[in-house]
Symmetry: D2
Subunit: 363 residues, 4 copies
């Protein structure tokens, strides 16, 4: 599977943005408590098996579908395309790639019309659609605005073993790379890729995959994210705060990672930057730069590197997970074999910042 | 020295608030870069050996004196008292306690008048003064307001081996306890004590002492603290961020701990609560409650427990450090011997929150 | 009535802080919608005639009592004193002043014990109590924290015709003046007076009185106040936003004035400064300084000067309103007779800031 | 001139975003004090006649050029296009429109290459360029981050007599309308139009034109805007705050309008919403809705409607100003002839919100 993915001769579909994720959860009531009661996502529609949720400023039917199922997993990463014709383009594109493709004129989920779902070359279930039900955009419904309000879907993050291979495939599909993490040997550890004018619509994180690393929602301001932490403390579920809050080096966003009842990871994210110019500069980070993942040098917890959600094929079965063979970011940065610096040109003297990260690192 | 400190027969001086700290630093230029260029404290006066600094909303001459010296240490914890007569009261009080006492009508530092300094029963250099030079209060000088502006001195934090002994002494001196950390065996690990109407003017942290744990300045809002982190990242000194930012369980404040060039610890702190009622409820935390020190359950780094600054006697020599013999908070909460919970009544089943803190704890 | 109020020979009661206001409202359901649904105050207790409300960080039974009655008015301005004995002191103090005094061991409202109510020399119904029921302090109940959360009762504001007369009376009662507004002829237009360590527990606004100008609650941060405006917009009650948001010159607080269904004025307030030192500098503002009431020079609407709530005597009848005979702040600053400046020393040339306030002043 | 502007047969240039404004100022030192010292824009380059400024997250040479000249005016509204070929497209497009067109391979300002400037059909000096010098993007230079930091150029706003005529022209040019203000007679008072994925790159405000209404920069958070107000208060130039801060109805952004030393208007703006989907819903506001321009119902000052900056032709002479003949928004909403409502369906009873805006409206 590690061969290069060829670029189809037909044009790639014109993708607008990441639009929604379909997530299989094992206990719908627990998931509802997490996404609705804790995070305050707005219910567009729900029945006993499925909940359709959207963020505060969304006008399409949903950004997240929670579907009850036997195995926690991601069932679809759905992108909106620019016109109905682009759904045809997507179908043709993936057919030429030799992928399994399924077209449904009535859509795969409520509120969405003509769509195509594919098992993409990296093993992910991608969906492309244009037709969608418009619903009330809550932008000025400040009577419904919670202290930790999630205002937009920002991005997906996918785990894949071979990042350069996946990156080439997504660049062919029309994504542009805003940032990446590499080392001096040329290994790529992660890449951030966008269609809309933010840092990413999706990112590739090097690791055993295909798996869903996380889905990210954005808030207006930083204090909204702090409130989510505070609320999780009040609810005595601080052990579901996995990492953060912090400031990313990559993307510059203020962030938080939390875990839903099935262990699906959710990022809360705010204030990255505009990337809409054609020559938007790509930022490359050294994997040994201790500020790349957290600008304040706070450690990345190991689970953040190792844990992720299964993804489903079009029959609803989990895709097999293939091991990454390139160097692991965790291995090269954390613990005895790792080596990170705060200031690149320090000489290694005590306090120089070469020898590691923080005073007082956790035992 | 572990005998109970008797309550003097004369009245305790009427203390208003913690007012300034005198800190010996080994490289004045480096310290200036930290406190003035990085943190934006305002220089009231300076010469080649000393810098007098104040926070944005202060109207007395200084909240921090940096004095060049051979050994990094805290030279004085200064409290303002309610009237000139209370300086006399302080002198009499400590004389009856049998402490070494020095009175200087012209003050020990510029800008401060008639003062008394003592080597207190816990070994700390305490100062009491009323007379002080008023300087421009910068409260509405928003032309000087930086993005991470420090607006007030909030508190001191002192390390002492025997917290109940120190607490009794400070209660006799007129401080009231707002919060403390204990275990079910009756060991006290820390106590927070106030005169002004906030959670503390000083706190006692159990450990080898007498030592200065930290000095704390407050900001108006949480984003001001985040900016200080961001700026330290930009200056590539993120390795001087020791712990945080986070939300304290104790005090409820949003916090950050950073280290100055000599390793003196500075807390940046905002939004604790009003404690001015006579029956303000005292909050007691269980040492095993994993949200006590960080409401979000983020780990306390070991250095935060073990490192602290020496304090000086009235001759300017470091006080000998006496070891704590009570249980250590770090030992009972971090690592193999520790035991903490997120939810007290969980049954210990996987995911119950009893067995430890976070998924993904740092290796 | 304009004679000087004598200072009693007995000591003034030792007041801790403003504690609660009792407000008569004409439609309890509408008032509940305003204070509970819109502002998010927390219901301690309620029945068909009365609602007891508290702010987020309060631990006493209530900060606001809404009582159904025929005439909208303020029934009591209640202060907490330092001990039960201070209630006796208050009773004696007002008896010597010749005021009508009523003592109730069981209290005047639920949750409060032994209290004294008086018709004070300015005509206001003042209450003093110590005994009070402690209730859950919600400080860390972030699961209940709304985006516009009111965290503390901050102050009262009273309209009285003769400010210097009222100020002398309140200073005798132990209040200290933090700020005032005067003109060069010696007229005092307003004064801010505190017991707790903020800018005020109550203020005197010159005007026809006795009347209640407003009650003020504080938020943690400025965005919380903006959210209240945004929510009032969403509820299409923006016409109940009377003035602001803005930055006060006096007090330096960020503020907003809104009107409840009966026209009672509520201020939302954050980030004034510490006033606890005995020599806290008093700030005097020139009535012609256009930044005194709004640091950004935004105009004060006339209703803010003219409208206020009646206050009741101890029988529940409205106190007669006596006209102010000193110059009116509105008359000397707004419109044809007014004269204000942005920069005091400007020469009156066009654009110099002498001739008025803003370009684009409202017609 | 009120005939319809025909759509050219050649394709419109593919515009990326508004990129910079060239502004003629009469006193460069005073303008520098305003834009650099007060607002903190970053100087890319300067000489005795010109200053090139950029916002914090910009990577192209400048967003604002201040050029010393005899008459305060806007000399160019510059848009970046998607590729060098699109400059050719722009040239052809405006030639077919019969406009005066000037092409300069070396650019009209430093840092910008091959450009075309035109006198567009509405009388505005528009520029289109692709080639530009990349400069340091300061995104993570938090050591340079001020409390009121301007992070992006957001939009232009142009005054033109006939909004529908201008809107048709800009739609032909590829702009899409996000929001507009109309009345029930079909008069259009203003329209907001975008290329990048925000509410606008430019807007048309109905009035005497062609004139520049304002240029807008965005901040990260709302408190950054409040700080700019606070700083203007501290500098005693609050009379240069023309309107706000407030929350817009249109765009939902938090805003502030201030005036530079020449009277050029600058908006500070934050937190509008994503508009990148092809079917992004257009929001139409009723001109009589009192929350359309300020969500909190605060009045628009008359100067905001009447004052604006001249624009120059390609010879540097001011364009003649043509009067608007359609109804004026100010006339239909402010004062005796105006009529606005807070709640559309109210019956006009006192307090119903029909009869006007606010209690306490300014005299």
């Amino acid at each position: 599977m590690n061969n290069v993915i060829p670029k189809p001769s037909v044009p790639a579909p014109d993708i607008v943005r990441c639009a929604y994720l379909e997530l299989v959860v094992t206990d719908l009531a627990k998931s509802r408590a997490f996404y609705v009661d804790l995070l305050g996502l707005h219910v567009t529609e729900e029945d006993e098996n499925t909940i359709y949720l959207r963020s505060f400023e969304e006008f399409i039917h949903h950004n997240l579908v929670l579907r009850k199922g036997p195995v926690a997993a991601a069932a679809a990463f759905a992108y909106r395309v620019k016109s109905p014709a682009e759904v045809d383009a997507a179908e043709a594109y993936y057919k030429e790639l030799g992928c399994r493709v399924e077209r449904r004129k009535e859509g795969f989920t409520k509120g969405v019309g003509d769509s195509v779902r594919v098992e993409d070359p990296l093993g992910f279930p991608y969906e492309f659609f244009y037709e969608v039900e418009h619903v009330e955009r809550l932008t000025q419904r400040y009577d419904l605005y919670s202290a930790g309000e999630l205002v937009r879907l920002d991005h997906f993050n996918q785990v894949t073993p071979d990042v350069p291979r996946g990156r080439k495939y997504l660049e062919d599909l029309g994504f542009r790379v805003s940032e990446d993490i590499k080392d001096s040997d040329g290994v790529t550890y992660a890449a951030w890729m966008h269609r809309k004018q933010t840092v990413h619509d999706t990112a590739l994180t090097g690791g055993n995959g295909p798996r869903l690393h996380h889905i990210a929602f954005s808030t207006h301001e930083k204090h909204n994210i702090i409130q989510i932490c505070d609320k999780m403390g009040a609810l005595r579920i601080s052990d579901r705060i996995e990492r953060g809050p912090g400031r990313h080096g990559v993307s510059n966003a203020f962030y938080l990672y939390i875990l839903d009842p099935d262990g699906h990871r959710v990022e809360i994210y705010t204030q990255d930057y505009y990337t809409g110019d054609p020559d938007n500069p790509t930022v490359t980070w050294d994997v040994h730069d201790n500020q790349r993942r957290d600008w304040w040098g706070n450690p990345v917890v190991p689970s953040w590197y190792t844990e992720a959600s299964l993804v489903l094929d079009l029959d609803g079965n989990p895709q097999p997970v293939i091991e990454r063979t390139d160097a692991s970011e965790m291995a090269v940065t954390v613990g005895a074999d790792g080596f990170s610096y705060t200031r690149k040109d320090d000489d290694g003297a005590p306090g120089s910042g070469v020898e590691g990260f923080k005073l007082g690192a956790q035992v």
